[in-house]
Amino acid sequence: MTSDRNRLSGPLADPTADAGYPDTHPPRMGFFTDTSVCIGCKACQVACKEWNLVPAETGELDLLGQSFDNTGALSANNWRHVAFIEQTVTPDRPPVDLGMPAIGPPAGDASDAGDGQVRWLMSSDVCKHCTHAACLDVCPTGSLFRTEFGTVVVQEDICNGCGYCVPACPYGVIDIRPGDGRAFKCTLCYDRLGAGREPACAQACPTDSIQFGPLEELRERADLRVTELHERGVDEARLYGRDPQDGVGGDGAFFLLLDEPEVYGLPPDPVVTTRDLPSMWRHAATAAVGVAVSVALSFLERGALERRKP
């Protein structure tokens, strides 16, 4: 028990207990986003904004040209983001990601992919509510904290907008809201969970691509699902963020993907930065000692020093 406490990386059976909650705390809750049934309707994005009163995009609306994605990425004002990836799939070849880049018409490659079938991947991204959450770890004010549901939430009355969580997140989730100054991200609808309700996005999701529930149950369900898809010949199905052995100790919000994570804009094998923090502190301490010693050395007796000079 004690050896498991206050760990910064690796598997952690109960991050909630680790965050000081009594044993009576509710089970860890999370999302399983099954992208194999996502229809890219973006209901999750809107339901999230309606519930959490997240501001709409400010300034000029612009077409991104990234298939039907005009949001781009998760941000302080987009706590859900649906990615759209257009591919041609030819048997026995890895999928070819199709153009729509800002670098001109992909006419050249098109003939290459002509005989393939079009595949359109869609995936609703969200904060991962990591077992080892770097944003939470580095937050200097305690604004980011772990809730009794094991989720990671920003406390808006505390955040002072120091911005440390922003570069700490290995998934590029959390961000500072322009004009507000504070950091925002998915709360897994902490307030709704408190009322025994499911998060707005999961409730809205028409095809149940976004599933909400106790993480343990979701993991079992996901394992079954991926097995089932493999049996159906969908070999490319894989789980992302489900493994408690991974670099962040497993995600509270994990995914079933149909291609490599980076194709969806996800890091392939993220590691919580604080895993290396003890080592960092040691290096910093050594270097600090180096400073002290260097200063001290610099004050060694004048004469002696000058004598030693070549």
Partner: protein
């Protein structure tokens, strides 16, 4: 006592005395967090409704607080939608409370270059006058000798978000007026 409360409320103190030494969970909870609750829990009433966009007919629950709509979401009881909504349905609250909704009657006189605000009852009276006048002016008792009892001077085109009861009154009134060019999005 005030000091003690302050110290007790200081997360560092809770870090030192509680189970959350690193200040990553229970010790870091704020007053705002302790007060947090879902606004649907504070609603004065919940009203059953139906999504106004497409014809799937998803159930909606409309949460009202202080005579304002504070949330609209899917009705999990519905056998049609099971509580789910599409982006449009999920944006219903913005549809009914969002920017751009006009709440005053606007009038543009013939050849006018801008809107003028007029009272609703005056507008109703003016519209009734125009209906009566146009009907009188364009009335046909017969058409090529065959009785028709109608006017082709007045037409109507309705959207398909009209309630059945509204459509019913429209058809009834227009028919009694003798107006036949009564159409709906359903034709389009």
């Amino acid at each position: 006592m005030g000091l003690w409360q302050w110290i007790d409320g200081w997360p560092v103190y809770r870090q030192l005395t509680g189970d959350d030494a690193l200040g990553r969970g229970s010790a870091a909870r704020s007053r705002g967090t302790e007060r947090l609750s879902a606004r649907t829990e504070r609603a004065d009433r919940v009203v059953r409704s139906v999504c106004p966009y497409c014809a799937v007919g998803c159930g909606q629950k409309v949460y009202v607080k202080d005579e304002k709509v504070i949330q609209i979401e899917g009705d999990p009881d519905s056998p049609i939608s099971r509580g789910r909504l599409c982006p449009k349905g999920a944006a219903s609250k913005q549809l009914v409370t969002g920017p751009g909704r006009i709440s005053a009657v606007l009038h543009r006189p013939p050849h006018g270059t801008g809107w003028e605000r007029i009272p609703l009852d005056r507008a109703m009276d003016m519209i009734a006058d125009r209906v009566v006048a146009t009907r009188r002016q364009t009335w046909q008792d017969t058409h090529h000798g065959v009785p028709v009892r109608r006017t082709l001077g007045i037409a109507s085109l309705g959207g398909a978000t009209l309630d059945n009861e509204e459509n019913y009154l429209m058809k009834k009134l227009y028919t009694a007026l003798g107006a036949i060019q009564i159409e709906n999005q359903a034709r389009i």
